[in-house]
C-alpha cells in the first residue's frame, strides 16, 4: 500500500499505520464510518492533488480498492 496513503488513513481513522493493510474493510470498521469516509476521501484528494468522482467515493469498500484507485490517478498524472 502507498505509505503516504496509509499515513493519511491512520490519521483520519485514528489508528496506527501498522494496523492498516490492503485487506482492511470499511464495513464494520469502528472508525471508518460514512462521515469519516467522506473526510478521508477529501483528505486524500488534498494530499495527492486528485479528485475522485462521487461514484468512486461510494464504491470504495476496502483499503486495497482505495490504494488501487489512487494508483490509477497517480499513474495518469
Amino acid at each position: 500500500m502507498n505509505p503516504k496513503l496509509a499515513d493519511v488513513m491512520a490519521d483520519i481513522l485514528e489508528v496506527k499505520a501498522g494496523e492498516l493493510s490492503r485487506e482492511t474493510v470499511r464495513d464494520g470498521h469502528p472508525t471508518w464510518d460514512s462521515f469519516n469516509h467522506l473526510r478521508l476521501m477529501t483528505a486524500i484528494e488534498e494530499e495527492f492533488g486528485v479528485q475522485f468522482s462521487m461514484d468512486e467515493i461510494e464504491s470504495i469498500e476496502t483499503a486495497g480498492q482505495l490504494d488501487d484507485l489512487l494508483g490509477t490517478y497517480l499513474a495518469a498524472a
Binding site: 483520519i12 485514528e14 460514512s34 462521515f35 467522506l38 473526510r39 462521487m54 467515493i57 461510494e58
Partner: protein, 630 residues
Amino acid sequence: MTADLRERLALAHDRPSLSAAVEGLTGHGLEPRLADKLARRLGELALPADSRVLFLGNHTLDPLARMATAAAFCQGVVVEARVGPFDQHMQMLLDPSLGLADFDPDVIFLSLELDRLLPALPAGLARLDAAGRQGLVDAALALVKGWVETAKSVTSATLLVGNFWRPVRPHLGLADLKLAGGETALHAALNGRLLECFAADPKVHVVDIDQAVAATGRRAADSPRMRHLGKLAWAEAALPEIGDLLARYLACLVLPPKKCLVLDLDNTLWGGVLGEEGPEGIRINEGDPVGEAFLAFQRAIKGVQGRGVLLAACSKNNRADVEEVFRLRPEMPLGLDDFVATRIDWQPKHDNIRAIAAELEIGTDSLVFVDDNPAECELVRQMLPEVQVIHLPKDPASYAGLLLELPSLERLVLSAEDLRKTEQYREQAARAAVKVEAGDMRGYLESLETVATIWPATRAELNRVQQLFAKTNQFNLTTKRYRLADVEQFIASPDWRLEVVAAKDRFGDLGIIAAVLLEVRADGLAVDSIVMSCRAMGRGIETAIANRLKAIARALRPRGRLWGDFRPTAKNRPAADFYARQGFTLEAEADDGNQRWVLPVAEAVDVPCPGITVDQSTIEGVKSLEPQAG
C-alpha cells in the same frame, strides 16, 4: 489535531482531568476532528450527563451532535447526545417504539433543511404570484409549528428550533432581489415569522443557524458533494460555529449564570495609565485607532450590562483621579454610576473582589474578572479559583469581540428584572443610605414604604420563577434547583400551589422577588420551597409570605397542618430561623441537619410585619378558593 492534545485526551480518566485537557479551547475554535475525539472520550468515560440532548431533523446530524457535545464540554456541560432517525422528527415524537420516553431528553434540537422540506420552492418561485409565495412561507411555518406543538404535548424538554439558512446564491440570481417575495426575501420573512411565533414561549428557542453559517462563510459552509453523498446539510467547516451556538444554549440551561463583570480600569477601559498620562492623556476617543478600540470595548460592556449583568470596577488608582476622568471625559460610553460597586485603591485585588461580592450580596463564583495585567490575573486565579478570570490580550481591537463571545455572560431571555438590574442596585444603594440616616430599624423599614403583592403564579412568571430557583442561595429553605419543566408542572398540577411575590418601595420597583411552592396534601399543606432574592431580604417580606401561607392553609385545609422543610447549606443561614419566627415547632431533625417543622392550621397566627403593606386584594383572592375538608 496536535499529538499532544490527542494524548492528553486519551489519558484523561475523569471529569477534572478531561476539563484540564481542553482548558482554553473555545467552541467555535474547536477543530471538528478534535471535537469527535473529545465526544468519543466523553462517551467512553460515561460521565453523568448534565443534559440529555436529542437531535432531530431532515439531514445527517451525527457530526453536529459530536461537535455540540464537545463544545458544550468546553463550556462546562456534560451532554449525552442522541440522534434520531433521519427525517423522522415527527415519528420520533409520536411512535413510542423509537425510544423518546426512554431517552427522556432535557433538550430537543430540530434542524430542517428548507430544500428538503419544500423541494419545489426555489425553482418554482418565479412562476408564483404573491399569494402563492406567501402560501409557501405559511406551509413551512405550519410544519415547524406543528412539530413544536406536538413536541410540547409529549415531552417537557426545552425545544431548540434551528432557523433556515440561505444558500450561497439564490436560484434566480441577481433578479431574485427584484422579485417581491423572492428566495432571499422569503428566507428573511420565514425566519422573522419563526422568531415572532416563539418569542413569548419560554420553552422554545429559535437558534440562528443562518447566522452561524454566515459567520463560517456561506461558501465555506456549503458542500454539495457532502450533501449528495452523506445527506449532510453543511460542510465540516460550519460545524464549529453551529456547535458553539448550540453549546451556548445548553450551558445557559444548565449552569448558574455569572452575575457581575469586575473590570480593571487602566489599559482595560481606556488606553494608558491614568496616574501617568492624566485625564486628557488616556486614549478613549474617536480619531485614534487605539482610542476607538477602547470605545468599542466600553460599548460592548454597556451591551453586556443591558443583559442584566452588573458592572463593578476594581483597580489600583487614586479614587479622585478616576472620579475626575469620568467627569472630564463625558464621551466615554460608561459613567461612574454604571458601576454598582467600586474598589479603587491600592489593596490587593483578590481582597477587593471578595469585598465587591460581599457588598452586592452575591457569591464570588458568580463573578467574571477582566484585567490586562497578567500578574493580577494570576493572583486572582490562585486566590479565588471560582472567579472566571479573563486576561486581555495585547491588542485592544480584540477586546469587544472577546467580551461579546463569552458564553458565561449569555442569557436565554431577558426578564423585566434583568433589564432593570443596574437601576435596582442603585436604588439599593439609596436604601442603604437611608438606613444609615434612619438609625433605628423599625423607622428604616417604615420609611421604605414597601408594598408586597402576592399571587398564584401563571405561565407569564415561568421564566422568572425558574430563575429564582436557579439563582437564589441565601434565602432558600431547601435549595431545590427546579427546571423550567418542573415549574410548568407545579403551575398546572392541582397537587401543587406556586405563588409569586413582587415588591416595590419608595425608591423603585423590585419586581418579582420571591416564589413559594406548596404541596397540597389531603391532611394539610407542605412548604416545599421558599426562595427570595437577596435584594428583598431583611425587611420582613418573609413574614408577609408566611401570613399568606397561613391564609391559604385556613382556606384550603382549616383542620389540617402546615409542614415546612429546611435543608441547611453553606449559604442559606439567613433563612435558618424562618419557621421558628413564624410560630412553627421543630418536629424532627436528621443527622444531616435537615429539619421538618410543623404548625397546626388552627393554631396559626399571623405575625405582624411592620412597614410592609400587603396588597389586600390578592390576599382576599384566597377566600374564593373552594374549601375542602382538611
